[in-house]
Amino acid sequence: MSTTERAGAPGRPPLPAVLRSVLAVEVRLFLREPLTLVLGVAMPSVVLFGMAAIPALREPSPDFGGMRFIDFWAPTALVLGLCLVGVSHLPAVIGTYRENGVLRRLSTTPVHPGVLLVAQLIIVLATMALSSLVLVVASWLVLDIGLPQRPLLFAVALVTGSASLVASGMLVAAVVPSARAANGVATLLYLVVMLVGGLFLPRFLLPEVLVRMGEFTPPGVQLLMDAWWGRVDSTNPHAVQLAVMAGITVLAAAAAARLFRWE
């Protein structure tokens, strides 16, 4: 038998099995440092409940077209959770893995380090889904905020919006050299998304330009609001907004894949 044949003889384990094994470890690591889970899943609801503790914010007001402030603000709380997980947490984890040589070590095995990124994406998307579910259900049960009026459109907007955030987060993660740099850039992105999303000033007080930006910057907070409140009609450009989020996702993901530095 030639050396080459012997060298090539052992095969590679199937990718799904490898992904399962990496995912199992990454999930345990994620749960061992539960800060992101707590902040990302519980904090949006807690902040919304905090707002609701102020009586004036529970009164319907003509300023919000007869809605209560908390009804108006619930989508912002939703975006807060999505953003913490997709834009803050994801680049920090990947930046740390790059800085500490975790990705580099993986690249010396028969397995491509991209498996680790896929595992992280699964964890991040699952956490975002959980965060959204907790917020919508808790708002409905505790604060009597209506469930999304257009559930299908809301779900589609949530999925595309989350994807656009995660792709942007991945683009940051692709290029930052360290965890520290990841935190810096991610915080900037986070502030922009949350400014547009109405965290610092409710969106009805924002200047027109920021309100318009909310239609077209990730995660598309305007469409989430419209779908939640059922304010979608043929004059709303929701198909355009969905297409923009999908486009941002594809572009950011492609750029991330192209620019990604493994060390």
């Binding site: 470890v25 690591l29 397995v111």
Partner: protein, 245 residues
């Protein structure tokens, strides 16, 4: 029989030449040392051999495979322990080993590996709680879990205390005795003298000497004109520090 062949390897990073012209071969079952001062091109050389970096020029063969084109197959037969590659802080020793084992079709037994590396009692410990020596031993274990025929160990004992270094040396000998060919990168001469069958002294991107440690020492003693030299003396003289002797 040569298991690794390197001929006229050259690698630059931009303007900087890391490896100018390096040639050597490693026989099956050897512990082969790659020695040299900091920045001599040791790590770049073994990274090219391991398929982690693409050489600019030169002919490389590891078990008959070309590291640049047969990368996937090479990774199944060559394990590498990289300098300064950490693991996630909270991963447990046994989790890391099992995960890396799952990357191979016929991995080593995780329990056996733990006991060979003498970290069985730390199997459930998180990476951040391990001592430097234990982290290095885990790192070696991860390089060996795929049952490689060649293991590349880079700056294995840098930063370890004398006792941990000696334990690690014993381990390297045990690994070789199990039939693995070892390429050891080091800048410690006592380590090379103790472990290596042959060494290549690399200086400024070129091989300054290629011989057994004993013969390098004998030559240095002769040049000195009496009195037994050490491998360190030979090294200093070979790497352009003759005036320091």
């Amino acid at each position: 029989m040569a298991i690794i062949e390197v001929a006229n390897l050259r690698k630059r990073y931009g303007e900087k030449v890391a490896v100018e012209d390096v040639s050597f071969s490693v026989d099956e079952g050897e512990i082969f040392g790659v020695l040299g001062p900091n920045g001599a091109g040791k790590t770049t050389t073994v990274e090219c051999v391991s398929g982690v970096r693409e050489p600019d020029r030169g002919r490389l063969r590891v078990l008959g495979l070309d590291p640049s084109t047969d990368r996937t197959r090479l990774r199944r037969v060559l394990g590498i322990q990289l300098q300064e590659a950490r693991l996630p802080d909270r991963i447990r020793v046994v989790e890391a080993l099992r995960m890396y084992a799952s990357f191979h079709q016929h991995p080593a037994d995780v329990g056996e590996l733990l006991s060979m590396l003498d970290i069985t009692d730390r199997a459930g410990a998180q990476y951040r709680t391990l001592s430097g020596g234990q982290q290095q031993r885990l790192s070696i274990a991860l390089a060996l879990v795929g049952r490689p025929r060649v293991a590349v160990l880079d700056e294995l004992t840098t930063g370890l205390d004398p006792r941990a270094r000696r334990e690690t040396w014993k381990l390297v000998e045990r690994v070789r005795d199990s039939g693995v060919t070892i390429v050891l990168v080091s800048h410690f001469m006592d380590e090379a003298e103790r472990l290596c069958d042959r060494v290549a002294v690399v200086d400024r991107g070129r091989v300054a000497a290629l011989d057994t440690p004993e013969r390098l020492v004998a030559r240095a003693s002769h040049e000195r004109g009496g009195g037994r030299a050490t491998l360190e003396d030979a090294f200093v003289s070979l790497t352009g520090g003759g005036d320091l002797l």
